[in-house]
């Protein structure tokens, strides 16, 4: 399990680094929002979910997609706009979909996915299943009306919703202190009578433990749960927008003990010794290169199919 989880985080890290390189090299276009530094949250949450559970993601969603589906090829092909992409080239970076694996899409609107996740939770209750619906969002989205409306409604109807706040300290370029009156998001859950936990989002062990509690609570029909995961967005908001952040702040978060991969490795020196990690790195790099080649070799969607399938006039 330890190796598996580490490998999942590593896959996200290498995926993001590889696409950053290709993006800067002009190999593909559009917006990209990188997940580097937040890997433990996606991997921790998804480690407790099955394909029948739902995940609703954000504009910064590559990590969520990979953690839920393990579909590296479909993700890169989607970024390239190819027909083999997970959304057949219709969505791109912010709109990866894989409903068969319970991945119900990224979202280009901050806070836009929270009500949708409420709907999947409602459908689980309606159909009498024990599926759960997980929605990721940032602390920026916790200032949107959709967050508050959805929390109230989820609590009211006791819906199986897990609201995961990835508090990465920045809403685009605005720091949390300038956007959020009290950065303890669990207090917002308290206001709606929703159980919650605040965790170090860069510590996979902590995230897994919290995710277990949340999933157990929600799956047992006790209503929604909120996780406030403290983390840090190491990269700028968006692939092409440079942002200025205090150098000491950036340096602090880039210290090995604050990096989710290093932190997990330090906790498990035996299972994740240097030889094991080196072997995993080789495996993951190979898998990603294979996916890149797959995406490069894939065709673009055909306009005639587009016209036919979507009745374009």
């Amino acid at each position: 399990m330890i190796k598996k989880y580490y490998k999942r985080m590593l896959t996200i890290r290498y995926f993001e680094e590889r696409i950053k390189q290709m993006y800067r090299g002009g190999e593909f276009f559009g917006a990209i929002h990188l997940y580097i530094g937040q890997e433990a949250i996606a991997v921790g949450l998804c480690s407790q979910l099955s394909d029948n559970d739902y995940v609703f993601s954000t504009h910064r969603g590559h990590g969520h997609y990979l953690a839920k589906t393990h579909d590296t090829k479909g993700a890169i092909a989607e970024l390239f706009g190819k027909e083999t992409g997970c959304s057949h080239g219709y969505g791109g970076s912010m709109h990866m979909f894989n409903p068969l694996k319970g991945f119900m899409g990224g979202n280009g609107i901050v806070g836009g996915g929270i009500p949708l996740a409420l709907g999947a939770a409602f459908s689980a209750q309606y159909r009498g299943t024990n599926e759960v619906s997980v929605v990721f969002f940032g602390e920026g989205a916790s200032n949107q009306g959709t967050f508050h409306e959805s929390l109230n409604l989820a609590a009211l109807k006791k819906l199986p919703l897990i609201a995961v706040c990835e508090n990465n300290r920045y809403a685009a370029t605005t720091p949390v202190a300038l956007s959020t009156s009290d950065e303890d998001i669990t207090k917002r859950a308290d206001a709606y009578g929703i159980k919650s936990l605040s965790v170090n989002g860069n510590d996979l062990t902590e995230v897994i433990a919290a995710a277990k509690k949340a999933v157990k609570h929600v799956r047992s029909g006790n209503g929604p749960f909120l996780l406030d995961c403290k983390t840090y967005r190491v990269e700028p908001h968006c692939g092409i927008i440079a942002d200025k952040r205090p150098e000491d702040e950036l340096a602090q978060w880039q210290k090995p003990e604050n990096d989710p991969l290093n932190c997990y490795q330090a906790q498990h020196p035996k299972e994740l010794n240097s030889a094991t990690v080196a072997a995993l790195e080789t495996d993951v790099k190979y898998e990603i290169e294979e996916a890149v080649e797959f995406a490069r070799a894939s065709s673009f969607p055909k306009v005639e199919n587009f016209i036919k399938e979507f009745a374009v006039q």
């Binding site: 057949h88 409903p99 836009g112 009500p115 949708l116 709907g119 409602f122 689980a124």
Partner: protein, 325 residues
């Protein structure tokens, strides 16, 4: 044929569709209490229970998104706005989520949501925030179908069609028609989305009347000698342009009557398509008779001034009929 009200006809459609398909559910403010504020959900709660008749807080964004998310997972929600005017607070969920999820997913998810815009209409002195006809907002956003039934029969047949459609359908109701009894066939029938109706045949002028305007035009026809072909498009997106163009080929003259402001409205869209596809049919410039470009004032003479009245319509038709090339 038996006569029932527009609201009862829709209520019958809901009962029948919920009976037919257990994935159909109703969600909105007050729908579970006393049959809703318009009595539009009469007996639904008693018949189908609270899991399928979901009353909500006043949180239009959340419950619109809830409907969309539930639809992504295979349910068929009928989502209700108490007044169409209230949709402003939920526009992101409607226009960025509901309208776009199907295509953004590459066709992997369907969003069969029926969005009832209740209580639309004018003339009942409800002032600027309760008197809007916002059909053009939604017709302008790719991804929706937009229907506007003007009769009890169409309200039932189109609601059933909307619920069975795999695309999101904006279903715009008119409060002035709610409690009028009209003939409605018994049992199962569907009014296909995208199909207009020739209400009255004629040879001088083609009048396309959207929603409640159909009734105003019928009254106006009592005040004019002109032979008018009256068309109710019933669906404003997609428009039944062949029906309108065929009529124009006969009359050569087009008047569109609507309650929405004329600027950038459905009438303007009909004229655009007529100019592009049927320019040679036109004997004179087409005209849109719609609301004036100002928020609707409260006081009766002021409200009447900004909306097309029966007399205005009659006058315009008479002038049109007399127009010679």
């Amino acid at each position: 044929m038996r006569k029932i009200t527009y609201i009862d006809a829709m209520n019958e459609a809901l009962h029948e569709e919920m009976q037919r398909d257990e994935n159909v559910f109703v969600i909105g403010e007050d729908v579970d209490i006393d049959g809703g504020v318009w009595n539009e959900c009469y007996k639904l709660m008693e018949t189908f229970g609270k899991q399928r008749v979901v009353g909500t807080p006043i949180s239009e964004s959340a419950f619109s998104g809830l409907a969309a998310g539930a639809a992504m997972c295979g349910l068929r929600p009928v989502l209700e706005f108490m007044y169409m005017d209230f949709v402003g607070v939920a526009m992101d969920q409607l226009c960025n989520q509901i309208a776009k999820l199907h295509i953004m997913s590459g066709g992997q998810v369907k969003i069969p949501v029926t969005i009832r815009m209740c209580g639309t209409g004018t003339g009942s002195r409800e002032a600027a925030q309760h008197s809007q006809s916002l059909e053009a907002w939604f017709a302008h956003i790719p991804g929706f179908k937009v229907v506007m039934p003007a009769t009890a029969k169409d309200s039932k047949g189109l609601l059933k069609a909307a619920i069975r459609d795999d695309s999101p359908v904006i279903f715009i109701e008119n409060r002035n028609l709610y409690y009028e009894k009209e003939p409605v066939p018994e049992g199962e029938f569907i009014v296909p989305i995208g199909q207009g109706e020739i209400v009255r045949e004629g040879t001088d002028v083609t009048v396309v009347a959207v929603a409640y305007s159909r009734h105003k035009v019928l009254k106006a026809l009592e005040m004019t000698e002109a032979s008018v072909e009256l068309i109710d498009p019933r669906t404003v997106d997609p428009l039944d342009m062949p029906l309108i163009l065929d009529s124009l080929a006969k009359t050569g003259k087009l008047l569109v009557v609507q309650e929405a402001t004329s600027e950038c409205g459905i009438g303007a869209e009909i004229v655009r398509q007529v100019v592009e596809k049927g320019f040679d049919y036109l004997d004179c410039p087409p005209v849109v008779l719609g609301g004036k470009n100002i928020p609707t004032p409260f006081s009766a003479p002021l409200e009447d001034h900004v909306l097309p009245q029966v007399e205005d319509i009659a006058e315009k038709i008479t002038a049109f009929a007399k127009y010679q090339i």
